[in-house]
Symmetry: C2
């Protein structure tokens, strides 16, 4: 298990963590000041400052990338199918331009939520089939761009509206079917989504170094007041962060540890406070 106590070199900040405090330029500046090793930017935050400018400012600040957020949202009907395909291909291209190690994929839930305007359905099994088909198609494109895809299983409470891929085993089954023995399609392990899973440690071991393309941390608060924007700062909740990181590193993962915290509470703090707290928690409890 790696020693994180010395500094923030292995810490990455997912830019959504401070999306309400600053634009991408401000976030990059703050990360550099705090000695943070990497960032994982969101597409809308990159678009707001311009792709080439974003790539340059990140490089000039000496920051690495731990991922690019995000593509996916596959279930769709009618014209939305083609729009989703084209949109996902652009995401791959942007990730390649930025030099990201992978594109994070959120699978999407039922079509009316994944791609609004699509024909409503309650057929979860059909949504999962659409995810597999969309993923297969995008994978062919991403292979050509030599850009790995990291499918992120989301917590089951998001199954309807955000992602119908809800366990690590399910994501790994998809990876094994679409990319047998390969490393073009892997997974993003986010503790917030998977900490509860009775099969978590078996899944991490099964995934191994080849499939674990990203590792995200935050914490589960009790009580959780909002399904979407009440994630905890690392250490403030009940997730056994060190136990999970030990398993992930034992499986061979040696990348950045990315803090991704969607939280009204932390969005209300100054960016300096959030980043300093992420660094301190990274060094002591992650």
């Amino acid at each position: 298990m790696r020693d994180l106590s010395a500094g923030a070199g292995l810490l990455s900040i997912n830019t959504a963590t401070v999306r309400k405090q600053a634009d991408l330029l401000g976030i990059v500046d703050a990360c550099a000041r705090h000695g943070i090793g990497a960032i994982s930017p969101w597409r809308d935050q990159v678009a707001a400052v311009g792709l080439d400018r974003a790539a340059r400012m990140i490089r000039d600040a000496g920051l690495k990338l731990s991922g690019y957020c995000r593509g996916g949202l596959f279930p769709a009907t009618g014209q939305h199918v083609v729009q989703a395909r084209d949109d996902n291909r652009r995401a791959v291209d942007e990730a390649a331009t930025l030099g990201a190690p992978c594109l994070i994929l959120v699978a999407g839930g039922l079509p009316q939520f994944a791609r609004p305007g699509s024909t409503p359905s309650k057929d979860l099994l059909a949504a999962r089939q659409a995810i597999e088909e969309g993923l297969a198609e995008l994978l062919a494109y991403a292979r050509q761009a030599r850009l790995p895809l990291a499918l992120e299983p989301l917590h089951p409470m998001y199954a309807a509206d955000r992602a119908a891929v809800n366990t690590l085993a399910q994501a790994l089954d998809l990876a094994d079917r679409l990319d047998p023995g390969g490393s073009a399609l892997g997974v993003a392990v986010d503790v917030y989504h998977v900490w509860w899973d009775p099969e978590l440690y078996a899944g991490i071991a099964r995934a191994g170094r080849a499939r674990i393309l990203a590792y995200h941390v935050s914490d589960w608060l009790v009580p959780t007041k909002d399904l979407l924007n009440d994630r905890g700062m690392m250490g403030d909740g009940v997730i056994e962060l060190q136990r999970i990181r030990m398993a992930v590193e034992a499986a061979g993962f040696d990348g950045f540890i990315e803090a991704e915290i969607f939280s009204e509470r932390w969005w209300a703090e100054p960016i300096e406070t959030v980043q300093a707290t992420c660094v301190e928690r990274h060094r002591t409890v992650v």
Copy 2:
């Protein structure tokens, strides 16, 4: 698949669904008026009117029981271990007195939430071990009382504070270890908790008639505004109720279909409205 369109004879009302509108007497009366076949009472609602009186009023109204809510909450430390054991034994005795077909068990999460006052811990694996040990001990008692136990896996969003048994497979693994080949320990399948599970249909088939002791319905709303008390009325959400019921009945389940809706929205309606709506949805969308 059974035809529910004719009436409410196969419908059971979980008494928590209308807990804010009436006491158990009022709920029993309303169920009888609506031709509802059964109820599943909660311990506190039974205690409020007295156990023997509750048993008599249910019998006199011609209602059956589909379960008794609830025992479990096993993880505990210190004096709370013995208190939990004794409390669970009383629940078994009460269920037997009422003539309930099973006692519903909610496993409990981390000890500080399962049994407040217990020593706080984040060790989810230890909580699961405590659940298995508590369950084994209670099972010995329940066997003597000839009272089946129905372990209910809860949605993963409750893993920390309510139940660290979160999938049907996990509950069935416990049943197979503690009650191999038997029917003293089974499961309660509640669509709200399991609808998202990629292994749901495999789990239902595996459970079969011997293990499925109860079947609960409600619906998953999008958006869900509260983790605890924003369940939907059947048909108002995204759960494929008929597909799941078809699987449960194909596995051999032939018991009551129990409506269990924790909802501030429905608690604000008159009991007549709630029960009439449950009956109508039972006949048309369940």
